[in-house]
């Protein structure tokens, strides 16, 4: 789950990372009011969960409260990469002398968190990572010991940070680590960490990704989820505990197991079709879950055929068949449906569906070919 900049920075601040004075606003009038309170120059920053906000014109500098209101009006009416701007952050403008990158993420291969830092921070950090990766310092953190002071000092020395800033840097690095660890983040990033004209270190921008699997112990963070970044069908699917991702094709897929669901998409493509979605109904899905899944698939008007591929293990094929029948009764689908049931209670499932006017298939390849043909109208 992604957090907005203002949410991430508020969390960082709780852990002792200095951030600019500022607040979030949902209207231009509020933005003006915040600018008046802050006095001086402010930055108006769109809060949307995509990168490249600045380049899209979603971050602007305002010299007066009047200008802040005008810019906020403009930005709040924008859509950036398909996402509506619903809020702007109004921050005191920092006097930037130098920009540093500082982040922590999971290093899957090393099985440890890794802290990354570069003296070449700012919007071009991805270019730096691509062209001159040696300019990014990486230090692995033992998850049982946590970040040690000496490691943070080593990083400061490695990026040639002047010694007068080491103390402040240490506090920020340690705060970022605690925020990452205590929030179960998979990414916690400050870019840029700015050295100001008055020689202060301050986190001007922030980003956090939170491990969805850990949200059970962070109900406060779970409430911060921005539903704009997900298709309505994906939100609906999550309610039922289904793993669903909308795609652009016309063959709806309902499968049990993530690996098999991906494989079903692949094989549809292999035989010349295009999947309309990824959908894993999970292990042991009952009739109610299956019928919800079918409603979600059919809510996509592009769907011209549906492929059911169920390999029963914990999941019982007869339960899936019951769910299909319930959903057919409710939504009266007009598209052709191809069904393949194998494994636990497959025979019982097939008998239940015998009169349901569905195309049956024995093998995975057979099922995919039939679905592709059905979607093409014959």
């Amino acid at each position: 789950m992604k957090l907005h900049e203002y949410q991430s920075k508020q969390i960082f601040a709780k852990y002792g990372v200095p951030i600019p004075k500022g607040r979030v606003a949902a209207t231009a009038r509020e933005a003006r009011q915040i600018a008046e309170e802050l006095g001086g120059r402010v930055v108006i920053k769109s809060q949307v969960l995509v990168g490249g906000r600045g380049k899209a014109g979603g971050i602007k500098l305002a010299k007066t409260p009047q200008e802040a209101e005008e810019l906020a009006t403009h930005i709040l009416a924008m859509e950036i990469k398909g996402l509506p701007v619903r809020k702007v952050l109004v921050d005191e403008a920092a006097n930037i002398e130098k920009e540093i990158y500082l982040g922590i993420t999971n290093d899957r291969a090393a099985r440890k968190p890794v802290m990354m830092c570069s003296a070449a921070g700012g919007v071009e950090i991805e270019e730096v990572a691509r062209l001159t990766p040696e300019k990014i310092i990486k230090v692995h953190i033992d998850p049982l010991l946590g970040l040690r002071d000496y490691q943070a000092r080593d990083i400061a020395a490695s990026i040639d940070l002047p010694r007068e800033h080491w103390r402040a840097f240490l506090q920020i690095a340690m705060g970022l680590w605690k925020a990452y660890q205590e929030c179960d983040a998979t990414l916690a990033e400050i870019n840029p960490l700015v050295i100001t004209g008055s020689n202060q270190l301050i986190a001007v921008d922030g980003k956090m990704l939170i491990d969805d699997n850990a949200l059970f112990r962070h109900t406060d963070l779970a409430e911060m989820r921005d539903l704009d970044v997900e298709a309505p069908s994906e939100i609906e699917a999550r309610k039922y505990g289904l793993s669903f991702i909308k795609l652009d094709g016309n063959i709806g897929c309902m499968v049990n197991g993530a690996g098999l669901a991906m494989t079903s998409m692949d094989i549809i493509k292999l035989f010349g079709g295009e999947p309309a979605n990824f959908l894993d109904i999970g292990g042991g899905a009952g009739a109610d879950k299956v019928s919800a899944a079918m409603r979600i698939i059919l809510s996509d008007p592009n769907v011209k055929a549906i492929l059911f591929n169920i390999f029963g293990g914990i999941t019982r094929c007869d339960e899936v068949a019951k769910g299909i029948l319930i959903a057919m009764d409710e939504v009266k689908p007009k598209v052709p449906m191809v069904v393949r049931l194998v494994g636990t209670n497959a025979e019982e499932g097939r008998q239940l569906l015998a009169n349901a006017n569905m195309i049956t298939a024995e093998t995975l390849a057979d099922a995919a070919q039939k679905a592709v043909a059905a979607a093409k109208g014959g």
Partner: protein, 287 residues
Amino acid sequence: MSILINKNTRLVVQGITGNEGLFHTQQMMAYGTNVVAGVTPSKGGEWVLDGKIPVFDSVKIAVEATGANTSVIFVPARFSADAIFEAADSGVSFIVCITEGVPVQDMMRVRNYLDQKKVRLLGPNCPGLITPGECKVGIIPGNISIPGNVGVVSRSGTLTYEVVYALKLLGLGVSTCVGIGGDPINGTNFIDCLGMFEADPKTEKVVMIGEIGGTDEEKAAEFISNRMTKPVVSFIAGQTAPPGKRMGHAGAIVEGGSGLAADKVKALQDAGVKVAKHPEEIPLLLK
């Protein structure tokens, strides 16, 4: 012979009194697995499954009383890390964690702790493993595979079932089938299993089923190229998955240009591995 589990496996089930734990204990026993104990804190002293299996308050007590050498974990995700730590400190040498949805930072702590001990973890978020005709630990259905000489290792669950079933339909049997799980940080990886299959006299050929995300398949390709004499056939799921979207498994995500299926297929082919276009092609490539 086989790898990791066999007739000598003495199994303790953590979370035996839960629905999943109880159901799959029955299934494992019906298959012939020697289940010797169960653990549910605060239910020590009870017996389950018609008085056949004693329940203990802790894994340590269960191991002392029954000589269990392997543990399987069915406890909810929020308690899983603790269950693994407990098993690791209790004297079993092999732990299988079936539970899905364990937080990744929990797994980093678990893995770094286990690396200091002589205990192997399989999973989490995995279907477990089966040595057909002898023993199964976890949730892989017993009737979809037959004993044989093909070693199978996979990051997936039902896709694995699909593959061993396709093998069975063509009369090909399995030495051991291991599901390593779909999480980004796990206990046992492809290379561990490939090495064990290479050393196992009963295994003559190996099937490796990978998926998008991470670079484990690329590392496996390097291992196969340098260290393996037995033929390997592979399949990679997620060839059509869009970048940035998590395909169900916490580990199945293409990020920042890495983890792509095409890169994995190429690395494997370069290592001399035959890569199937779809799962049902695997048995044909093995023949």
